[in-house]
Symmetry: C2
Subunit: 414 residues, 2 copies
Amino acid sequence: MIKIAILGFGNIGSGVLQVLRTNSASVARRAGDTVGVGYILDVRDFSSHPDARLFVNNIDVILEDKTVSTVVETIGGVDPAYYYVKSALLAGKNVCTSNKELVATHGAELLAIAREKKVCFLFEASVGGGIPLLAPIRDNLCANVVDQVHGIVNGTTNFMLTRMEKDDMTFAQALSEAQRLGYAETRDPSADVDGIDAQRKISILASLLFGSEVHPADVPARGIRQVGVEDIWFARKMGAAVKLIAYAKRDEKGKVACGVEPMVLPLCNQLANVQDVYNAVMLHGDMLGDVMFYGAGAGKLPTASAVVSDIVDCAKYGTAVHDTLFWQPSVSQGPIIDSGSYTYYVRVANQDVTTLEKDLGGVGMLLRHRTQIAVLTYPMTAKQLEKAILRLEKDGIHVAMSMKLLGKREMIAE
Amino acid sequence: MIKIAILGFGNIGSGVLQVLRTNSASVARRAGDTVGVGYILDVRDFSSHPDARLFVNNIDVILEDKTVSTVVETIGGVDPAYYYVKSALLAGKNVCTSNKELVATHGAELLAIAREKKVCFLFEASVGGGIPLLAPIRDNLCANVVDQVHGIVNGTTNFMLTRMEKDDMTFAQALSEAQRLGYAETRDPSADVDGIDAQRKISILASLLFGSEVHPADVPARGIRQVGVEDIWFARKMGAAVKLIAYAKRDEKGKVACGVEPMVLPLCNQLANVQDVYNAVMLHGDMLGDVMFYGAGAGKLPTASAVVSDIVDCAKYGTAVHDTLFWQPSVSQGPIIDSGSYTYYVRVANQDVTTLEKDLGGVGMLLRHRTQIAVLTYPMTAKQLEKAILRLEKDGIHVAMSMKLLGKREMIAE
């Protein structure tokens, strides 16, 4: 029997137990042995739980039990998860975690410890929830050099944008609906709506794809608070949709650009059609072209099923996974700037087309609705857009919103 | 060095050489060693090719060379590929192939030989071209029982249906465009348009998912020849699209249903938005829900990159892959019948709504266009539909087209 310990018996942790029990036969067939839970660590009182005998409240019991080969960490957050995970790796145990904050912040160090101790440190569930994503990147895309990734990696904001589009809700209405359904936190929803969750996930993806640590704090993140109903309306008229996109790319010289921001996506882009709480990640490989992985980016059982697939990988493939699942530590270089040129969507509450065209250096498409105008600019850099916005403000035209256009062409040809 | 031999230097075979050379460093890092091509078997004359020294025209040279660990088969078709692949496995060499006809016809036998000889038999490129699909099923979905798969697995017909929809082409016009671009064969396009290619691919997927050989000849296949411009038009009006869907499902009692046929997909179904030559496969796992893999289903370099990922898997994971990539041989049971209930799209060139409603037992939606009517029926089995069609014909109403509706609800709740 492969004996594991689960740290944290919340939503995901209890899901791991449920998945292991529901599909025990199929998991055993694939892992080459049965997988049994030896301990569950949780500080809360589970003495009346049917599995009460499994619960412990001291990590040392688990660390000292030589028969525990794999530790599952589903506590979330950095403290005490970081200490527990590091101790488990140092004690020679494999660790599988769903904790994106931990991996984004301490991934490089923990991967190095795992490599040194010849154990696995796996975290499939940390990005894209239940969607197989890190393992396919690690293994199946090995014949490709992946130069860019664009993803919808936060289900809550995608749910909100979908409601704003389909049910004509405002941001505030969509947020309160997301909170009512338990998708967004009631007290402080900023981890989702301000792009912090997506920032952590794209840091993990970028680090893995490019082999060098990308610090979350260096990734510019802008959430969906400024997205207005007008933007959703104008985008729809353009045959497009507004999505919160997390992206990372590396140019031919090795320069990395990375960020999280709302973008305007023509419907021919597969990501534009991803609705509700679903996630999707589109990668571009030099041999393969575009490839997309789509599915449930959150939820108890989907996320737990990804954790269980990591447990099986530990048993089946061992440390061979770290030949390709690895990144080097790096020193923070400050905010990562994307110096590429893009077509921008710009919305102003003004009808002075002449000044608008002059200050933006011409426009490629223009739509009017009541007192507002939305345009698509000619390609320009973020810095050029910033200067144009300053010119507009000086001329008395306030820019209510600006977003990059993420066409399909750009994704293929860039 | 991992020394390989390539059998067949056509489109895919030469692509494998190109991928290995273009991304040699990244492949070597992931395989744990450099991968070098020792032989290329092709009966044609390549004496003036820059790699002329690699070419041989006798398989025995390769089989007898103990330093060749892996053989790549990209000849296509059953003969002589079957003989070559079987000989290579029996000689103790791993085999990676892109040959769907071979795998669909002889997969069970070749997998058994591979297991016995403790070598790998891998065929990622045989379904979905470059899309990582069989490996994620084999490895990353291990915590799930997958009960159904629906896919667009033939790029040529998807290209044709896209042109019929976007450019208002007829079937004949779309076919000639596909032939002009080299997507469909000029002499006999039936492998694509009659669903034979998709039939082979879904046989492989069904065999892998359900663990028991599904014979291509037992899978009912119906291509897109009967899809009229009217059907595309009516579907669009219904907020839907016509797609050639290959599917396989297994109910709770273990009964397998499998087929290839054009279906009507509401746009909320992710598969409905897959355009042009792209492929996409949607799987449903009991823990994960829907998950979709999307990308280039054909093409020289995408397909070759999938073959190369198999070469790396042989080197890295060895025969551990066969714990989960395996199916048992089975005796053909004759045509597989899908006895499930579906909403059907039915089109008639008649305006007699009363008789139509009576013979179909009521309709859920009805659209008129010129002299034609298209309806969505209430859920019924294929047998019930057949009887209704007979009633209609008896009443003088000819059914021009009927297709299942593949909603999103069905995919999740069924």
